[in-house]
Symmetry: D2
Subunit: 136 residues, 4 copies
């Protein structure tokens, strides 16, 4: 599981006084990219291996300006050509859950410009991040 701390920016709040829903997807994107980097992928736009097919966020508590959030990333499913991330967004100070998210990622072969089977090396790395240490 990867963890990233993110501090809520002022422009990420809205007129209801809390973090706007669209901002959580910014945090999930940032967590995804750190996760892919941690797997050894260089995150170079000319050689991009991961396509976001779907993402979701459940909002369980309000977030606030200047709050420090911990965003966790784990693997909840590994398929043939795709895998699924699950995220928790927690208040770093109290540990309370603010939101939880997920993302379906399709592995993409840039040379042939097509989705492709997840290579064995990547598959092994993903297994190390399976949520709850379970078997997928």
């Amino acid at each position: 599981m990867e963890r990233r701390e993110i501090t809520v920016r002022f422009c990420e709040t809205d007129a209801l006084g809390h973090v706007n829903n669209t901002s959580y997807f910014i945090y999930l994107e940032e967590a995804r990219i750190q996760f892919f980097s941690s797997l050894g992928y260089p995150m170079d736009v000319n050689h991009w291996n991961f396509i976001l097919a779907s993402t979701k966020c459940d909002f369980t508590n309000q977030g606030y300006f200047n709050q420090v959030l911990t965003v966790t990333t784990a693997i909840s499913r590994i398929g043939t050509k795709s895998f699924e991330l699950e995220h928790q967004i927690l208040c770093a100070q109290t540990g309370d859950q603010i939101a939880r998210g997920n993302a379906v990622i399709v592995y993409f072969d840039f040379e042939n410009q097509t989705s492709a089977a997840i290579p064995e090396g990547l598959r092994n790395k993903l297994k190390d991040h399976i949520a709850g240490g379970g078997i997928v």
Copy 2:
């Protein structure tokens, strides 16, 4: 079903040359707010009746800068205290689906600051927007 046309802004694209995933949630928010307005709710931050509990987006085709998108909003479920929206994001010119989304909305009683049963008047209005004209 409500429809809204949205033109993709330049700052909503990313370095992969297409619309960034986070931008679709901006479009879904805009569609939701137009939908609530169409039901007769004034969208006043001091009297806000709808809480977003969850939202999801599936990305089926790439969107591009300056593309005109049609975002549709229909009702897919009406519960006791919550209901669910479903959205299509289509290329306005070709009708191709770019994305589809949904949102779970909790009805909120501002005077008592608590979630509450959907009032009968709102329930009837929501029924008029049920996707596919079906019964929920």
Copy 3:
């Protein structure tokens, strides 16, 4: 002078209850792009002729969620290789000024990948948009 109407999105507000300062630069970008389109430039990222060298915004009144804004664009200066836009952001309903902005634009020759003298045809079109009808 070009005009564009923009309705403030909810996610463009902040926890102080008004439009966040960064959102005005989104509106200015949108106005610029409409302006360049009106001059006959296709706004194709593979053939981009205008580079933003500088932009500024003065905030004179607060803007609010759902407010309809009129953003005007005129030309305040035409140089050899660059020109300057000036914008007003007005409440569409009352005409009150919410903000005013400007932008310095450098003309860019994409074939040779360098800034270049403004072509005569473009210069003439820009002159038609000089603020106040004055001579630059």
Copy 4:
């Protein structure tokens, strides 16, 4: 002078492959807020003492996804009721300037809901941050 490191998020880039102009204003806002915090102001939306009257950014070099930027904040002018910040946005690795910005801030007395003379304590703190160590 205050310094803050910011890593460019993917959603802050645009289809031209670099950081979108609107994103720099997000960075400037983040630097401002850190600066105000460093002066001992709690950055509480219910007790907000600083109003942004104007902000500007000059774009000198392109910024890129994942680039680590150093944003500096110094004071360039102290008036009776307002003061001015100047910022540099540098590539943290090379020190090259990517952009430079400024902001005019009006001191605001929240109890009386009006702009007000900068209190002596704040004035002294601002003087410690005068750019170049000069006298204003």
